[in-house]
Symmetry: D2
Subunit: 341 residues, 4 copies
Amino acid sequence: MLARDFGIACGTLPTGALNAITDVPGVLVGHRTLRSGDVNTGVTAILPHGRNLYREKVRAATDVINGFGKSTGLIQINELGTIETPILLTNTFSVSACATALIRSAIDLNPDIGRETATVNPVVCECNDGALSDIQALAVTEEDARAAIADAGRSVAQGSVGAGTGMSCFGFKAGIGTSSRRLTFGGEDRHLGVLVLSNFGRAGDLVLPDGRRPTPADDSVRGENGSVIIVLATDVDLEHRQLARVTKRCAAGLARLGSFWGNGSGDIAIGFNPKAILPHDGEEAFLAQRILNEKLIDVLFQAAAEATAEAVLNSMCAAEPFVGRSGAYRPSLADWLTKRI
Amino acid sequence: MLARDFGIACGTLPTGALNAITDVPGVLVGHRTLRSGDVNTGVTAILPHGRNLYREKVRAATDVINGFGKSTGLIQINELGTIETPILLTNTFSVSACATALIRSAIDLNPDIGRETATVNPVVCECNDGALSDIQALAVTEEDARAAIADAGRSVAQGSVGAGTGMSCFGFKAGIGTSSRRLTFGGEDRHLGVLVLSNFGRAGDLVLPDGRRPTPADDSVRGENGSVIIVLATDVDLEHRQLARVTKRCAAGLARLGSFWGNGSGDIAIGFNPKAILPHDGEEAFLAQRILNEKLIDVLFQAAAEATAEAVLNSMCAAEPFVGRSGAYRPSLADWLTKRI
Amino acid sequence: MLARDFGIACGTLPTGALNAITDVPGVLVGHRTLRSGDVNTGVTAILPHGRNLYREKVRAATDVINGFGKSTGLIQINELGTIETPILLTNTFSVSACATALIRSAIDLNPDIGRETATVNPVVCECNDGALSDIQALAVTEEDARAAIADAGRSVAQGSVGAGTGMSCFGFKAGIGTSSRRLTFGGEDRHLGVLVLSNFGRAGDLVLPDGRRPTPADDSVRGENGSVIIVLATDVDLEHRQLARVTKRCAAGLARLGSFWGNGSGDIAIGFNPKAILPHDGEEAFLAQRILNEKLIDVLFQAAAEATAEAVLNSMCAAEPFVGRSGAYRPSLADWLTKRI
Amino acid sequence: MLARDFGIACGTLPTGALNAITDVPGVLVGHRTLRSGDVNTGVTAILPHGRNLYREKVRAATDVINGFGKSTGLIQINELGTIETPILLTNTFSVSACATALIRSAIDLNPDIGRETATVNPVVCECNDGALSDIQALAVTEEDARAAIADAGRSVAQGSVGAGTGMSCFGFKAGIGTSSRRLTFGGEDRHLGVLVLSNFGRAGDLVLPDGRRPTPADDSVRGENGSVIIVLATDVDLEHRQLARVTKRCAAGLARLGSFWGNGSGDIAIGFNPKAILPHDGEEAFLAQRILNEKLIDVLFQAAAEATAEAVLNSMCAAEPFVGRSGAYRPSLADWLTKRI
């Protein structure tokens, strides 16, 4: 079940065919889920395209909404405006295993890395699933990271899957969610899609687009100490500054659900364009590029806010009730909504 | 009429006694309103305290939510973390007159400025009221700026007054609005208050806390080309970094009303603490300061988001229907709400 | 006299034909100098091109090296990546007069401003010449600002002229200086030029490229409370992010002269490309743009650092000894150098 | 041999007793050096203090001078203004091993991490030693990271040691260097110390304080594709904003040596105060803190610039000539200087 199955839409723009980040041509998503004993965690991989990302980097930008987080790779994205590996999402203490897997994969494909050419910048983002998983186990392996990448396709499983396995939002079970918006520029069809790893929000703070405030039955209200990772893709031609502006609007989508970007929440957004290729090689002095007429950018801002909010709701609606580490329980927003229809 | 007169509250925290920025001890607000022919504009002054601000600067921080704006003075606030003049709000083309008035007033009080001591940093923020006022007239004078400062008191007029005279929001008349939240830290009563100059939002995008979407009767939907200035005050002890974090949360309040921080909107927030005095003079090497335990900061984030949203709604509810330059008309949100009670 | 007349070059890249910012095609510079009694101040205008800048905006970026300054217009440059007026330099308390002059000039050329289209963002930067001029006089008028613009041409007067009339550096007289570097990309000749308004540095801190440390004869050593404005122009195709990276390297040029970007110094850099036009009008969805292959950007970094250092030295070498307000005296670096040849 | 053994001092402030970062009370430094076959790498650990850093976090700030780098942990330092682990320096592809070691060490000392309390933010910075070491070997282990921490003491080995084993600067061998400055505030003795991992600068670009330009004999001039990590410590009471301002001045020290913060160089500075403790536990609402009178901050700016430049020169003077991976050779700056005395 997704938000629209309960009659809940975020905003007014039309969705893409899949209502998923993979509506943006080229983008692929894969998961590796780990559930065993007190371990409820995993890895989710977002591939801007299916080719050699180190050779064909893509235009990218980031927004640190609240920096209580341990994501890696963002500094170089800001400076150079490119991504050169898949983006991996996982739990806080598995960033290293995933980063090492990305480094080794890049070397396998590009043996000149660190020898005849530069090194490689692994991009790994994280949320803390310690409430539902034994995060001290450091359970994710390099092999798990590779499995998530190998699993990548256009169909996106949502809810308690991959990196989302042990995540919670506003006191409900959450995890992976996605949504997209369809746009038209100069007569051409384009898309903006978002995928979230959602693990933020105090129980009681969630506000639905219709003003309802779902609250979990048991009142285990806790502080805001989760996080959310937002990955945005668009095939609209934007220079880095414009892409950064669009990426910043993901935060508005969170706020519309009742978030105030809490102190303990590492809220990070990364945006990229899978079709804006910056080649690693090549000696031409100048590259041709198209950029959007800035006067038309508002619809992208709107799409980023809408798709982020809807992706979070989808991550919750798609998740079943969950019993995690030491019996900790998270109900399903889908159940709450079902009772109220 | 204010939002609460229509049963609309933003969030759950209690308001201060005045539900105004002047609930924060020391803060004063004054207006100068200009209405004559096609001129509908003015000046609003916020005084962090009523003493000599150059000698007793106050801790301050800013957040540029969207930088399509012409406010002045922000760069030095960011670097030094202080404000040393009143904050003036006005229309886009009257920033210079207001800045000059602040410079002259500071020199009058402190004849050593620019001679034996440093210069002074005037803080003036603006929105474009060109839709309802003849902004090309550059109608505001230095005398108007001084009159707004002289008018300062604890009672805050709202709606079409002062700098808000010619402003609009979401297709409705808007202007000046304020709201506050009462807080408790370590057994001590504290406040966070917000005052907005509101002039943003496309008609049709406004969402009330209960999910309703008020739209003006006539469909003169226009692009997002306004702006909003948010002035936040709190007497909670915060270091500059913490105050910047709190100030950033004003943007969440805008987003909750349906804003996506539009391209053409200069959305700027300034936060200050009237009780955190940084003296201009004095030769001690170190100053004593208290800072909040960071674990307790979430309630300030929440208060900033709530008070910002409510201040915007108050700026709209307090405004009568308005006929401005060349007959341009803006209806009142209060009328829309009255019909639906 | 300029630095090279004393055998002093900064770095190794060749200069342009004029060794001036006006080596970058299109750029024009003009001055208005005010000397009367204790008033020693003025205005310097840099025109990215000689056409209607509001209609044909240019790509621009900024770097706030140290934000103890009152420049205006920077926030919008950062957000939108464009400049739409001439850049005016003046003393701290004349920013408002210059900004108003820019607004009125823009309205004269574009009567739709603030009525049928957006407002305009005046860019005015400043240093405090209070040590040598009566800054409390607010002596600069709108007419002076217009005169500086009207004076604009390819020949650049240096030293105690225009906004530089009352400025000092490292205890010596300073003011306006310029320098350029010639570059080649893909077989095409390009330039990077810098113009500075220099008013920074403690007496005794100056270090020449050969290691010598010129110190004024009288030991009126004073704190770092000046400022420096650096305007950089290049006709190399860069996206906004790249231009911001290049502009940031101006600070390295200051440091090489012994500056540590002092607390009281408002050190601001603005970079632009006069050939990268972003039209105000036009409805095409996308604009074509060339961007530099990032691998080739180092020579621009080097040029920015070298030209900034040399422009500062030129501002000092070109200035005669000066007696200013209340008899305050600043010797000439040219005299110091002449005695040591 | 260090720079002062060749009569080279950077600036005019006096050094601390050790001329090392460990002149700042509490700071400890340790190394683990790996030299085997084509592997020439290692780990350097800087401990802000010798107690439990997670329980007693220290005030910290960062500056990303040029973000072509893969350091981890900076985002949270910026947001919260604290460091809660030792700072580890290593090669680019060993960040993960070091981060995991920091996580496990923190869990060992604080079993509540990720269970009853928050997670932990490992701080690891890196340079690319691929020119002299087989970086593809991912040779550094968690055990190596622990060994560097266990080695920590007040005496700091410099040159080709620890993380500096395979690093180069301006075509010469470089690595680890340190320097300090002694300061006095309000009659109290304080220090500012810097430790660098230096691996930046094109051969031929180095400029000594006396204007000489040492160039390696063989002309294997290569592009700027190294990096430099600068760790600054001071026991002067500063709020986060002030510490960030001081930390930013490290970049001036690099520029004075001829650097322009090259495109391919990940130039990162981290500053901390070992005596400014922010406790993890404790429920008081407010913490008492002293902050420096901003008027006195210039000497800290000067100290940061001077100590950074001298630390880089020390890293070079202390390093012997070196033969690394595949016979790659780097001469010693000490030899160049010895021949010219």
